[in-house]
Symmetry: C2
Amino acid sequence: MKYDVIIIGAGPAGLSAALYSARGGLKTAIFEKAMVGGQITVTDNVENYPGFEDGISGFDLTAKMKTQAERFGAEFISEEITAIGLEGLCKVIETNSGEYRAKSLIICTGAHPRRLNVPGEERLTGRGVSYCATCDGALYRDKVVAVIGGGDSAIEEGQFLTRFAKKVIVIHRRDELRAQKIIQDRAFNNPKIEFIWDTVVQEIHGDQRIEKLELVNRKSKKITMLPIDGVFIYVGILPNNGLLESRIELDNAGFVLTDENMQTNVPGIYAAGDIRHTVLRQVVTATSDGAVAAWSAEKWIIENYDALEVESAKQ
Amino acid sequence: MKYDVIIIGAGPAGLSAALYSARGGLKTAIFEKAMVGGQITVTDNVENYPGFEDGISGFDLTAKMKTQAERFGAEFISEEITAIGLEGLCKVIETNSGEYRAKSLIICTGAHPRRLNVPGEERLTGRGVSYCATCDGALYRDKVVAVIGGGDSAIEEGQFLTRFAKKVIVIHRRDELRAQKIIQDRAFNNPKIEFIWDTVVQEIHGDQRIEKLELVNRKSKKITMLPIDGVFIYVGILPNNGLLESRIELDNAGFVLTDENMQTNVPGIYAAGDIRHTVLRQVVTATSDGAVAAWSAEKWIIENYDALEVESAKQ
């Protein structure tokens, strides 16, 4: 099958790219191997996507985006992509069911927080276990929360959480932080922030919601139980870049480098959303990226129309 | 009055910045001299803001964004700002009613298309008169539309409109285009595009909707009537930068230059949405800008907390 634009990944970035591409009159396919919606589908109430004054579940929000993209003709394909190749200007997508060709490709494969990989973590995600203070901090007014990690993100987000929480306990596996000095100093001077050093979480307990953290001191091996209202885990974010061939330029952490047009280093290949090297990862930034990527792809196809038609005719 | 963040302009960028700032626990005010919602309020049906599968009017969409920001404590102030000043790190906003101070400022004053300033233009805007092919092109399937202008935007958007319209008539005041050679060539080779040279629109006629353009040839002075289904006016976009003092860096066209954090050249002052030097101006890109700007302002306030408190105490 031949398309103008193939989008890989149907989270908010991919769904927005599909809407803009299909509504722009381009023949558009969007591939998703798992569930449409991406990471945000696990969020019960997205309060900060502009336009939904009472909030909306991540599941419902992305379902609406899917319907909207389909309305303009975007085709959803539930196949797992096994390889991405190039033949001249054309992009070739392989799945277990066949081969698809496109003039332009938009990569929206997303990212995922690094997990602690301890019992209870997955089950209680969205029920007191969070990976995003910007998203969920406001839910913990006058509560006691823990932050796991010792880097810039962990400490800055801990600082941020003190706006809401009455106490923030930073739990770090080492006896000193990795965060920048200025960020550390401010945290040490904040009376709402406490530290537990040399300690890791070995289980998260709770029935319907989180209740306590089971901690172990790495030096003394002593185990303690810490009652808690919520835990924010900041031990890294990992790009879903398994499919990206070596010729697409990534940053040191594996995220795709683009310019402001969402253009990667390969002509006609764009990236949008969490997979991209970017400053803030939110639904609204992902949808914006997707719109810009589709608009750029459309311009690129217009500009390379003749060469693309010649190649397409050969296949 | 003292705020953490003052936002100037309550279009989608400002409304999203207000939501993120207020929800982030910052004391937030948003100033709008005219109607909340900005340019998009005149659009009957916004089809391409992700999440509204049947479309939504610009008026309703921005009303929802306002309610959402207010829910988290953003204060809306209907006063016209007369001056913006700086006192050290603090920003001072003057209106006819008084003076407001903020640690950080987010400029969301928007832009507006340059008008032809001919009779009928304003009255028929949104009823056949459009300034945005990306927004409205899909409404003109198998119709005949005119494009006014001869620059890159006019010709590229004319090309784009041929995906929908059966005929696109480019009307230009000169006898040659200003657009790049490659863009011109492609337009000349497109059988759906026709040109009318040396000609300007002197009136737009129509009752409930556009019906015809009254054209005058600048050389022969001959007047003709052109029946038409829609007209797209691409004679420039103008930034609403009247308030910006000389120290904020602008591009040659008067749009605010920022980095990817929406930071201007002045510490603690950010810009978001159409006022910004950017590649694509849509509701979804504006709301994303607003979220990033608020997030950046929040980080900046945390990083400069001590210095800001000292200054604030002096006032």
